[in-house]
Symmetry: D2
C-alpha cells in the first residue's frame, strides 16, 4: 500500500512486471496545461530496456496511453490516468525463485510481509514499476517547464570507481547526457564506465554508481520548513527508487568534513536578484529553495540479480548455490537517469502547488 | 505548514525559539502503553544545550509536561500533547539580522516565502524546534521498546576529517555513546573530535560531521514497497533535521563503488530464522526490513551561524561584512544524536502500525 | 483534484463520461484475498444504465478489467487497477451546452473553477464517474465479507412523496431489493414509485428520493473518536455521491425531535454479548460502531438535467430558454443503490484497517 | 487517532475533559494575518458552559493562550498552538461509570476499542473537546473574513417539535442570534424552545434539535469535484460534532420529495455576475460553490446523559437501573451554534487554500 506520492500534485502508481500493465494516475495537475502522449513517450523511451548493449535485452514497447483527464490536448483539472500495457513476459525465466530467494532482492521480504509472492518475480519491486513514475514525471515536467521555466537534467556521475568530471551545470543538456549510452556527459569517463559495465556483465556480475541531478529555474520559497523540507522530500523521493541507497545535497557528505566559513554561501546581488556566490547548499537552505540551482546525488547499489552462481540459502534455509537466469541490467545507472528526473519533477510540482498556499 | 510527520503514528510539532514554548501532539499512539514525563525528560536532557563546553552556552530547562492523552500512567489512545515552555530569550542577540540575512541560514528563504521574519531569528528553523521531535520520539521509543523490543542507538561517527572506528553494533549502548561529551564511543576519535570542535569554536567557526545509527530488533516486513519504502521514510526523516545534508543506508555511497557479487547479502539459517551473512543492505531490502539491524548515516553540514565576520550582502543586496553574536553550537553533532534517534523512532512506530494492516 | 478516498484502504478514481474509460486504483487491500473480475462485474451491472424503462436509454457495456494487483485469483497486496472502457459516446447530444449552462448542474461551477469545460458535458460530474466507485467498492465488499462477514444492503425507501414501509433489517437481501426495477423491497410502494418516475419522465421532468442502507456484522470498535467518526466518514462518503443532498444516521432528523429518555438505546446482554435493546443510534455511538447494524439514509435531489425547456440564462447571462436533449435518468434512485453500498464498503474497509492499529 | 482535520489548513486537536487542558494546533494558516487571543476568546465564551440556565452549571473559564505561530500580532506561517487549561474537575460525579456504561454514550465503545476508559468519563467524547475546535475555527474565521470577506452565522432552528421561522439570510447576524439564550433569532420560537428545554431539564431529561447555518460571501469555485466535494466536507465536518446525527444542504431532505423543474435553480445575471434565482442548491452545485450563500442544517440528538434513572445493563451485562449525576446540558443546541460555525470555517479555510492550486 501507500503507492501515492505527493500532497496536492499526487501520483498513484500501479502495476507489476507481469500482468495487464503498469501506469499512474496523476491527480491535482492544474487545468488548461497542454498535454498529449507526445510529451510522455520520449521520456519513457529513455527508460526503456534494450536501448544499448549496456542494458537488459528484455524488449518492451512501453507505449503510453492517456486514458482520462485531457481533451483537445489540454488538461481538464481531473485525474490523468496513464497506462503502459505489458508484453514480452517470460515468467519461466524465474523458476529458480520457487527454490530460493534472490540475495538482496525483494523476494524474502515480500514473502514475509504479504505471505504471497508474484510468480513473475519482482512484482512491485521490478524495475518496470518505474515506468509509471516516468510517465507521471513527464506530466510534472510539462507543468514545471510551461508554468515555471524549470529544467531538470540528471546524469551518471560515477560507475564503480570511475568518477566523471563535474559538468557546466548552467549549460548541461539532456542531449549532452544522451550522447553516450552510459548517459555520462564526460566522454572519457563515459568510455571507461561503459567498459566497466561490460566487464561486470561478462563476469555475470553487476556494478553500482551515482546519478547526479541539477534543477534549474526553481524560484526561491519552495519547500516547507520542518518535516516537508524540499531536501527531505527529495531524499525520500530518491530513496524510493529501486536500488537507491544514498542521497546528498550540495556539498553533502563532503561538506560534512568542512568548517562553516568554507561551506557557507555568501550572498550577493547578481543579475538583479539576491544570489549566493557559491552553491554548497545545493539550492536549498533550511529546507526551502533559495533561487539557486538544486544539485543533488543519488547512490545506487549494484543490481542484486546477477547471472553468476551465489552461495546462499533456499526458502527452507538450507545452504544452496543459487543462479538466476532472468534478463537484467548489469548496471542500472543509465536507465535510472530518467527515473531520478521524474522523481525530482514530482517533488517540485507538488512543492510549486504547496507554495501557492502559504501567504 | 506541513508540520505533521507520519501516517498513523502521526506527530505534529509547533513552537519557535522565542514565544510560549515548543511541543508536539502525538496522535495514533496505541492505548494502554505505560507513559509518563519520566520517559521523556531524560531524552530531552540529552538534546538540551549547555551539557558541555562543546555546545552552546544558551541554557534551557526544557522541562516537558504531558497535557493530555494519558491517565494513571497509561496512554488512552487519544492525542498526547507535550509542552516544553520557553525561557532565557535574548532576542537582542539577533539585532544584526535586521541588517543582513545570515549566509546559508533560513533568514533569506523565510522572508522570501512568508514575507515576514520572526524577530528572534530562526523561528521554526531554530535548533529549538527539535525539542518537540525528541519529546515525540520518546513516546515512539517507549512504544517500540515495550511492544517490539526495539533499541535505537545513534553516535557521532565523524567530525570534520576525523572518523571513528566502527563499534560493535550488537553491543553498542547509549551509555557507551554518552561516555564522552562528543558522543562518540571510540575514545581516541572522541578526544580528537573534541579538540577539533574546540579549535573551530576558538576560531569563531563551526565544523560538520556524521551521525550513524543502528536500530536493533526490527522484525522483517516493515516498510512499504514503493514510495513509502522504509529507506525512503528514513531518508526523508533524516533530511528534515536542521543542517542534515546527506543520508545513506548500509553500504550506501561506498557500496555504489562495488559489484553485486561483493555487495549482495547471502541468506543463511541462523538462530532459528532466515538471516543474512553480511548486512550491506543495512537491514532493508526493496524498501522493507529484512530482520537484520537497520544501519544508516546522516551527514550534517557545519552550522551556518558562526561568530567570525563574513563577507556577504545586506538585505538590500549591498556588499557587507556581517557578524552574528547569538550563542550557537560550534558543532551540532553531539546534540544531533538524540534527534536522529527520535526521527528513527517516529519512522519505525509509524511503520509498525502500517504493517498491522497489510495481510 | 483529491480523487482519493480513504486513509489505508485508499481508492483513487479517474475518468470522464467521454474519453478512454473510467476506473479506480485500490491501494491498501490486504494480500491473499480471493478476487477476480467475477466479483466486480455483477455490481457494475446493477449500476449500469439501460436496466429498465426507469433509467436512461444510454447503453454501456461496463466491462471491468483488473490490470494489476492480483495473480492466480488472489490479491498480492499491491495496487489493484480497475479499468472500464468507454463506448457509445454521442457528444452531439450536448451541443446546447455551448450556449448555456444547465441549471443546478456542474457546467457553471466547473467553468468557473477550471476555466475549461469537457465538451462531453459532465466530465467528472457525470454519473459515469460512479462506475469507478462501484468497481472499487466491490473489492472492499469482498474484503469485508471474506474477513469480517459483513453484509451491506441498500434500497430505495422513498421516491418523491412515496415512502416504503420499513423492511425487516435482519433479513433484507439484495435479491429482495432487485425484485422490482425501482429497487424497493415494499412491492406496493415500488409500484407507486415506478408510476411516479414514469410520470416525471413523461413530463420531461425528474424526481428525487431517499436511499436507505443497512450494514450487518460490523463489530464494535470501528471508527475514530473525533474528526474521523464512522458517522462523519459515512456522511462525507454519501454526500460525495452526485445528487446527494442529505444524510442521517439511526433516528436522525426524526430523533432530533425527541427526548433523551426516548432516544437512548438501553444496554442488555443478548446472544452472549452486550447489545442495545433499540437502535436509534444506527449502530454508532460517539462515532464508533457499537456492534449493532449500521442504518442510515441518503437524500437525493431530482436530477438537474431534464428534457423540458427551462427559463434560465445563457453563458453571457442573457435570459434564455434552455433545453437539453441528452439521455438522462428521470430518477437516479434505482441506480444509486449500488453506489451507496459501494461508498459504505469503502468507509468500512478503511475503518477495519484503521481499527487494527489502535491498541 | 486521526485528530487532524483538513488538507492544507490542517487542525489537530487534543485534550480530555479532565487533565492539563484542551487545545489545537493550526497548521497551514497563511502568514501575515492579524491574530491575537482577542480574536479567539469571544467565540470560546459563546461555547462556554454556564451562560444561562439552559446549559450545564459546570463552570469553566476557558481562557485561550496562543503558544506559537504569531509575533507582534501577525501570523508567521508556522503552526499556531492554542491551549485552554482545564479547571473545575469533579471526577467524583462520574462514579456510577465504574458500574455501568451510559446508554448511547461513548463509554461502551471506547472501552471496547481501547481497552481503557478515562476515569473522568467522556475523555475525547466530552463536549469539552469542542473547545479546541472553536479556538481553531476562530483562526479560520479570521482568515476567511480578512482575506475573503466571508461571514458565517448559525442559529438554532428547531428544538424538539418547535421550529423557528426562516430568518432573512442576507441580514442575519450573530448579535440577532445571541439576543436569546437559546440562540434562535425568531423570538416567539425562542421562548417556546427555552420552555421546552426547561421542561426537559425539570424532568431529568434532555431534548434534541436542529442548527442551521448560512455562509455568505463564498466565491464560486471552491470545493473539489469528487470525494472532496464542498458538500461532502461539510457533511463530514458536521457529523464529527458530538451528538450530530444528520446533515442536509439547501432543499435537502425536503428537496428529495420534489421534481427537477421545481428544485432546479435558474441562472440570471444579477448585481453584475451570474447568480441563481432560487437557492435550493444551498450554494453548492456538483460539490463546488456557485457564489450563492451556503445553507445547511445539522440534526442533533437529545444528549444521552440524563439525570433520571434508566433501565439498562451494568458492565457485566446484568440488568440494572442506572443514574448519572454529572452536570450536563439538557439541550446541546445553544452551545452547538459556535461549534457548527467553527467547523464550517475549518472546511472553508481549507477549501480556499485548495482552490489556490487548481488552475
Amino acid at each position: 500500500m501507500r503507492n501515492t506520492f505527493g500532497h496536492i500534485f499526487a501520483v498513484t502508481t500501479f502495476g507489476e512486471s507481469h500482468g495487464g500493465g503498469v501506469g499512474a494516475v496523476v491527480d491535482g495537475c492544474p487545468a488548461r496545461l497542454p498535454l498529449s502522449e507526445a510529451d510522455i513517450q520520449p521520456l519513457l523511451d529513455r527508460r526503456r530496456p534494450g536501448q544499448s548493449d549496456l542494458t537488459t535485452a528484455r524488449s518492451e514497447d512501453d507505449k503510453v496511453r492517456i486514458l482520462s483527464g485531457t481533451e483537445g490536448g489540454l488538461t481538464l483539472g481531473s485525474p490523468i490516468a496513464l497506462l503502459i500495457a505489458n508484453a514480452d513476459c517470460r515468467s519461466g525465466d524465474y523458476d529458480e525463485l520457487a527454490r530460493a530467494p534472490r540475495p538482496s532482492h525483494a523476494d524474502f521480504v515480500y514473502k514475509t510481509k504479504y505471505g504471497i509472492l508474484a510468480a513473475g518475480g519482482g512484482g512491485r519491486a521490478s524495475a518496470r514499476e518505474t515506468a509509471g513514475r516516468v510517465a507521471a514525471g513527464a506530466v510534472a515536467e510539462k507543468f514545471l517547464l510551461t508554468r515555471h521555466g524549470i529544467e531538470i537534467v540528471a546524469w551518471v556521475s560515477a560507475v564503480g570507481e570511475i568518477e566523471a568530471a563535474a559538468p557546466d551545470l548552467a549549460a548541461l543538456s539532456r542531449a549532452a547526457v544522451d550522447a553516450t549510452p552510459v548517459r555520462c556527459p564526460d566522454p572519457g569517463a563515459a568510455a571507461a564506465m561503459a567498459a566497466a559495465i561490460r566487464a561486470a556483465r561478462d563476469d555475470g556480475d553487476s556494478i553500482g554508481g551515482v546519478v547526479s541531478c541539477v534543477c534549474r529555474g526553481v524560484p526561491a520559497g519552495w519547500g516547507e520548513p520542518v518535516f516537508d523540507k524540499l531536501s527531505a522530500m527529495l531524499a525520500g523521493a530518491m530513496l524510493s527508487i529501486p536500488a537507491a541507497r544514498g542521497f546528498d545535497l550540495g556539498s553533502g557528505f563532503a561538506g560534512a568534513r568542512t568548517r562553516g566559513s568554507e561551506n557557507n554561501d555568501a550572498f550577493e546581488m547578481r543579475e538583479g536578484r539576491m544570489r549566493t556566490r557559491t552553491n554548497h547548499s545545493g539550492g536549498i537552505q533550511a529546507g526551502i529553495s533559495n533561487g539557486e540551482a538544486l544539485l543533488f546525488r543519488v547512490a545506487f547499489k549494484p543490481v542484486s540479480t546477477i547471472a553468476r552462481p551465489q552461495d546462499s540459502a533456499d526458502w527452507a534455509g538450507h545452504p544452496a548455490t543459487v543462479q538466476f537466469k532472468g534478463r537484467h541490467d548489469p548496471c542500472v545507472l543509465p536507465r535510472a537517469v530518467p527515473v531520478v528526473e521524474a522523481m525530482a519533477a514530482l517533488v517540485l510540482a507538488d512543492a510549486a502547488l504547496m507554495a501557492a498556499t502559504c501567504r
